[in-house]
Amino acid sequence: MTHTPRVVILSGGLSHERDVSLRSGRRVAESLRAAGAEVTVHDVDADLIPALRDIRPDVVWPILHGASGEDGSIRDVLELVGCRSVGTGPRASRVAWSKPVAKSVVARAGIATPDYVTLPQSLFRELGAQVVLESAVERLGLPLVVKPSQGGSALGVTLVSTMAELPQAMVSCFAYGEIALIERAILGTEIATSVVETADGPVALPSVEIVTDGPYDYDARYNPGRTEYFSPARLTEEQAEAVASTAIRAHAALGLRGLSRTDMILTPDGTPTFLEVNVAPGMTETSLFPQAAVAGGHALPDLYLSIVEHARAGGA
């Protein structure tokens, strides 16, 4: 490379995950500066496009969680203003952003994913809540996971064990979005596998195993101590290869670029079961991607710089 990369990190935004995004952005900025990059952190606001024109970055790294950051909108804008960016392009981001769409895509690629239904709020109004919820339970059984069809950080997600808990779970879910995904809860080992693209193609970092004393909810994710992480995950070689292969296949099937994180349940019979994928994985002190990177022997400044250089070279 001819010169130190000039990087703009986008963090903040107006989504429910603004706080996580700000923290992720600061952590990546710190690492990239340590690696010698020239870094500016910018919020997504009316000053952004003039700032991009002024700074003329080699690469923009959107570390925006939630809407506009992960749904492809910002990627569209970056393409419009001629900026190269780290990560997945707008069209694939849109596919990955919708959990049910992503599930159907990976299922077509032969990856197991829990059975589910996707139900918009309007449907309940038209058909009546009770009959629809009863049908969902009849079809999927209990326990169930109710989650917004879009979004992360477990916001609006409820594990439902009884029919009586379902209405409140739906209300909590619809507070975050208009479409709910009701998914059969799968028992097993909770695994997150991050993927990084290199010149040789996508490579899986060591998987991280998540053990909590309850649901892996917002508090469990961002309050250090409540969750125990095993990185690498306590898996046999065969299992480790299976989850790594699943994450890479999901990454490829969805057309993702740069980096991603696939969340899975490894069932007792050894099947990696896809839950969702993140095109802008969290990068906070407690996030899974940095843990995986460290477990893989990477120094974060070097890894993040290599991700930037890959994007700068046109690899996204």
Partner: protein, 436 residues
């Protein structure tokens, strides 16, 4: 299975996880707090925070005053000071409190780092884990956080439009005594209540004091808003009725500027001695620079006129708030405060303010869910709306947006037939400063 990778030890990402005091285990990463990260963006109308509208202050004059303090008294202002607080300021605080009928001596005053520290000190010297603190229902979220951190058991007593209900207080204290509970403090915000927006009537002030006295309970009067009334003269503080049974907390944060972090506590002699020692052990001394800046401001500016200007401005905002509520949320009910920063709104039947908050943030409006103001998990059917910071125009826009959110949520609740749930009581544990 063929072979296994070498086992790796798990990590909780916190090497001190096993070392924390029990009370720290209740400190949680809250979704609600995370949602508030969005509210300072200009696109969002925040009816959540208790930030005073500082654009009403004469910043040029204050700037000159602060510069003069540093130029002429810098060696004192930047040095450690008295644990009890700057003497000149303590004398001036008497002038401020005199407006609400309080007679005291400068020695009775302990200057603190905001009245929040005063609250912490009072709780620290009186409350053992398991002791009871009686407080209004609802009560100030920042006080509940302090009480929780000292592992107090908060028991709420209902209010009506005239404030704390004396009969309910008496019954509560009698019942607690019969149950063998140790009630240490009665914590009350009698004037322009946060979040209730109501004011304890003059008749009830004497009665509440008498009840506390008869049960041997120290009354803590928290009064940050008392000078920000919208009609008539300031209401006499409860402390004006009794020197020995009341600990009084005051603050410059709402009547001047919270950035200086200067508040105070007035307490009976023996209590005050312990407060000074407790404060010295916590912070050594309050900021000399802040105290001297405020002292100079009080000496050289017409602070009474400034407070009157604030009264006029906040009254206009209160009017914008209540008229907007009447226009856009006719099915809700709310208090009409005669001063202070907040109105307390009961949502239409069946709505849960905490579970509605993400929808509100999506709709670019913010409020504080009622659950934040109760120690027992109730309050989901209320929200606190503040009118102190946004302009009247923004207040009207905020209430209009809130009405849209409420209507959408109401439809959802009708579809699913849900009821407000009891809150996980630790969720809004320690409020962000701008929520106070």
């Amino acid at each position: 299975m063929t072979s296994t990778t070498p086992p790796t030890p798990g990590t909780r990402l916190d090497p001190w996880f096993g070392a924390y005091a029990q009370r720290a285990h209740n400190m949680r990463a809250s979704e609600v707090r995370a949602l508030f990260a969005v509210v300072n963006r200009p696109e969002v109308v925040s009816l959540a925070g208790g930030m005073p509208y500082l654009e009403g202050l004469p910043l040029d004059t204050i700037s000159e005053t602060v510069q003069r303090v540093i130029a002429t008294q810098g060696l004192s202002a930047l040095q450690y000071g008295s644990g009890q607080g700057h003497e000149a300021l303590r004398e001036q605080i008497l002038d401020v409190m005199h407006l609400e009928g309080i007679d005291a001596h400068p020695d009775d005053v302990v200057v603190t780092t905001g009245s929040q520290q005063a609250l912490d000190l009072v709780t620290r010297i009186f409350v053992d884990p398991g002791d009871v603190i009686v407080a209004e229902a609802p009560s100030y979220v920042g006080a509940l956080g302090v009480f929780r951190s000292y592992e107090a058991d908060v028991v709420h007593v209902p209010m009506d439009e005239a404030g704390l209900i004396p009969e309910a207080l008496d019954a509560c204290l009698t019942e607690l005594r019969a149950a063998g509970r140790r009630v240490k403090l009665l914590y009350t915000i009698p004037t322009f209540h946060n979040p209730g927006g109501v004011t304890l009537s003059l008749e009830r002030r004497a009665r509440v004091l008498e009840i506390a006295r008869s049960h041997g309970v120290l009354l803590v009067e928290d009064n940050p808003y008392g000078l920000l009334g919208f009609s008539g003269d300031p209401i006499p503080a409860i402390r004006s009725l009794d020197e020995d049974g009341v600990v009084y907390l005051g603050s410059f944060s709402k009547t001047f500027a919270p950035g200086f972090r200067v508040g105070w506590v007035v307490a009976p002699h023996a209590v005050r001695e312990k407060l000074v020692l407790a404060s010295e052990s916590a912070i050594l001394c309050p900021s000399n620079a802040s105290q001297m800046a405020i002292s100079a401001y009080l000496s050289t500016s017409d602070w009474r006129a400034q407070i009157k200007a604030f009264q006029v401005m906040y009254r206009e905002r209160r009017d914008a708030m209540v008229s907007s509520l009447a226009e856009h949320l006719p099915d809700a009910t709310w208090t009409v405060p005669d001063g202070g920063f907040y109105t307390w709104v009961r949502l239409p039947e069946g709505l849960d303010s905490k579970s509605m908050l993400p929808r509100a943030v999506t709709g670019r409006v913010a409020y504080v869910p009622g659950t934040a103001f109760f120690a027992d998990g109730t309050g989901a059917d209320h929200v606190r709306l503040s009118y102190c910071y946004p302009t009247p125009e923004r207040i009207r826009e905020g209430v209009r947006r809130l009405a849209t959110v409420v209507n959408a949520e109401r439809e959802l609740v009708e579809i699913f037939g849900t009821r407000p749930a009891l809150d996980d009581v630790s969720d809004v544990d320690n409020p962000g400063p701008d929520l106070a």
